[in-house]
Amino acid sequence: MVVPLSKLTKGNVAYIDSIVANQAFGELDTLVGRRLADLGFSKGVPVEVVAAGVFGKGPFAVRLSNLSQFSLRAAEASKILCHINK
């Protein structure tokens, strides 16, 4: 099953499938997408939500398999589609 990162449950590991467009960023969208890729959000990388804001609405703190951790707002998190099962 493929869901955006913003819908993952805290503490479960999922696998990044792809980075998709999000209209919220307008013309900046490609830039944000490229940035995510540069920082290591690439296909197949395991990702875990470590913390989320109140009511799970974001922002999200995520950890990649390489142990680097990032904070993302909901708009960024919804650009990242993940497989819940490998």
Partner: protein, 623 residues
């Protein structure tokens, strides 16, 4: 030495990877700090200790040369030679605790074709978390020298120094257009595949996130417990800024008072003595008295930053700040504002989005800086009864808290209005919070001390020169022309300041301000804390004596002559009043635009006027 003859090596690496510590080790103490032309991004440059024909530039931290922020763009432009200087080689600083991301950057840099060495920094932290790596093999696969370093230790720096000495000097340089195209066509996924391949051959045991680290992350990022912890941290910081600094501030005040007395005994009375006593010594003293607070505040900020906590605090506060159009990143500058707006405006440089940075700078002066406290203390002491409310609270304390609250609330409201205005004009964009949450680590105290000294020095220089110059000018305004023979009132009434005060008094009449208050506000332009002393002068309560004595003497005057409505309006005025030249001077420097500076000063003035008008008009109908 001719600058063109120097060989130029650039230090490149992610933020917080120990680049600056390495830079200090490589350049010794001869580094120069300045700003890039046109932008307020810090530029640090120094001569290589082993070879003074090599200059080393410390670039702003960057994760990639495909930039998204001002700081990063500066780093890229410098490497591509757009600042008119050819870069001959790169010293890449790689964070060993985040090998994948950092090696991708190394591969990206390698594509530029410049001579390069890689310093694998923070290797001690990575090793203690289980990483073992074949450094030789890594060096072979990357095709450049790789050195494990702990930037704080001499041996590591020694190795990097040798490697730098062996780099070819005066390389061919790079074709900036070609390089820019190359970066544009970069495929991160392919680079990461290459990184995986390299790591598979070199990493013998993987690093693991220690259990305590995971637990600490769960706590610090928790929507409830994280907030509780953050509040405790903030409480500690505020407590430290206000009470730990007190003895030192008292000492500085006493020192300048004694110095004044000593000079007074040495010099004959006259205009020169007056200039030195009331112009120079008083002026310098009024700046130096804030140094303890600023030092303590920055020590805490640096400590929290170096240990990795601050981005987590920014994460927690993002929701709160996002409603006003800011992001968690604005938290640090706004926190500093409570001590003094000058370092706060300076620290807004860490905000990447230009609009968010401008908004943060614009609202920073509203937050209650410590220079307002003497004014608050005087007025509260004079008109607010010292009584207990609901059994546990003190009314005077509640009013003070209320004034802080009004400051915070107004700052948020102004930011929100600016967000709405920007949206109408269509220039709003969401500030992505894409931010690394770096690994927790023990702070490096040597680095903290040296950065702290840099910041304090910058404060002394930037604020000090302005306040110093202004206090001399204001001294002249207050002193000349002297009182005529047989004059009845205080000398200040007859001075230029007195004339100005009477001149502007009609403007402030609707707020209930007396002409004495208007005169006192003029020296208060340099620094708010001077207002109380100036009131003392105008009301001639005996100018000699400590600030406390002046305040005590003023309390009955304020109480009887002003009346409660006027006193409250004066209090309201100082919630917003942009009456601090040092802040405005720093804002002008940082936003690099006279128009924006005037707009910021203007809106603060309007807010101050409206607020005290409303307070005065309402309270004359009540009291």
């Amino acid at each position: 030495m001719n600058k063109d003859k120097l060989t130029c090596f650039a230090l490149v690496g992610a933020p917080n990877c120990g680049k600056t510590v390495l830079f200090n080790g490589l350049t010794g103490s001869n580094a120069k700090v300045a700003n890039y032309p046109g932008v307020t991004v810090e530029r640090r440059e120094g001569l290589f200790v082993d070879d003074p024909s090599v200059s080393i530039i410390d670039l702003p931290g960057t994760y990639s040369l495909r930039t998204t922020t001002l700081d990063e763009a500066v780093a890229r432009d410098e490497i591509l030679g757009k600042y008119g200087r050819k870069i001959d080689g790169i010293i890449a600083v790689a964070d060993a605790t985040n090998l994948r991301m950092t090696l991708r950057m190394v591969l990206e840099l390698k594509m530029l074709g410049l001579p390069m060495v890689v310093s694998l920094n923070l290797i001690d932290v990575a090793r203690s978390r289980g990483l073992t790596i074949d450094e030789k093999k890594l060096s072979e696969l990357l095709g450049v020298p790789v050195l494990e370093t702990v930037a704080t230790r001499k041996e590591g720096i020694r190795g990097v120094k040798n490697a730098i000495a062996n780099l070819p000097q005066n390389s061919a340089g790079i074709d900036s257009n070609q390089a820019a195209q190359l970066l544009e066509s970069l495929d991160s996924n392919a680079l990461y595949a290459q990184v995986e391949d390299i790591l598979a051959q070199t990493v013998k045991t993987e690093m693991v996130m220690p259990k305590w680290h995971q637990r600490l992350d769960r706590l610090t990022l928790h929507p409830v417990w994280g907030f509780v912890l953050l509040l405790l941290v903030l409480l500690l910081v505020f407590q430290a800024v206000y009470s730990w600094s007190e003895p030192v501030m008292d000492f500085i005040e006493d020192f300048f008072a004694n110095l004044g007395e000593w000079v007074a005994t040495l010099m004959p009375e006259g205009i020169l003595q007056d200039l030195i006593l009331n112009g120079i010594i008083a002026g310098v003293g009024s700046v130096l008295v804030f140094v303890p607070q600023i030092t303590i505040l920055f020590a805490f900020i640096l400590l929290l930053e170096d240990s990795g906590y601050l981005p987590r605090a920014a994460f927690l506060l993002d929701n709160l700040l996002s409603t006003s159009g800011l992001s968690g990143r604005a938290f640090i500058p706004l926190l500093s504002s409570f001590a003094c707006a000058v370092p706060s405006v300076m620290s807004a440089r860490t905000i990447q989005d230009p609009r968010e940075r401008l908004v943060t700078i614009a609202i920073a002066p509203i937050l209650t800086c410590s220079a307002r406290l003497p004014v608050y203390a005087l007025i509260i002491g004079a008109v607010i009864p010292d009584q207990t409310v609901w059994g546990i609270f003190n009314l005077q304390g509640l009013v003070l808290f209320g004034l802080y609250f009004i400051g915070v609330f107004s700052a948020g409201l102004v930011a929100y209005i600016m967000k709405r205005l920007a949206r109408r004009k269509g220039s709003i964009r969401q500030f992505p919070l894409l931010m690394e949450l770096p690994t927790f680590r023990l702070p490096n105290f040597r680095h903290i001390f040296s950065s702290l000294w840099d910041k304090v020095k910058a404060f002394l220089k930037r604020a000090g020169t302005v306040i110093f110059a202004l206090s001399v000018i204001l001294w002249a305004l207050v002193t000349f022309p002297g009182a005529p023979e047989g004059a009845a009132g205080a000398a200040i009434d007859y001075s230029f300041a007195g004339m100005l005060g009477s001149l502007i008094q009609p403007i402030f009449a609707p707020l209930g301000f007396t002409w004495q208050m208007c005169i006192a506000m003029i020296p208060g332009i340099a620094a708010r804390e001077v207002v109380v002393a100036a009131l003392g002068t105008v009301y001639a309560v005996g100018a000699s004596g400590s600030e406390e004595a002046i305040q005590n003497a003023l309390v009955p005057i304020v109480h009887e002559q002003w009346g409660i409505p006027t006193a409250l309006a004066f209090l309201a005025w100082y919630v917003y009043a942009p009456m601090c030249m040092a802040t405005l001077a720093v804002i002008k420097r940082e936003v690099n635009s006279m128009k924006k500076t005037l707009m910021i000063a203007g809106y603060l003035f309007v807010l101050a006027y409206i607020f005290s008008f409303v307070v005065y008009q309402i309270s004359i109908r009540i009291f």
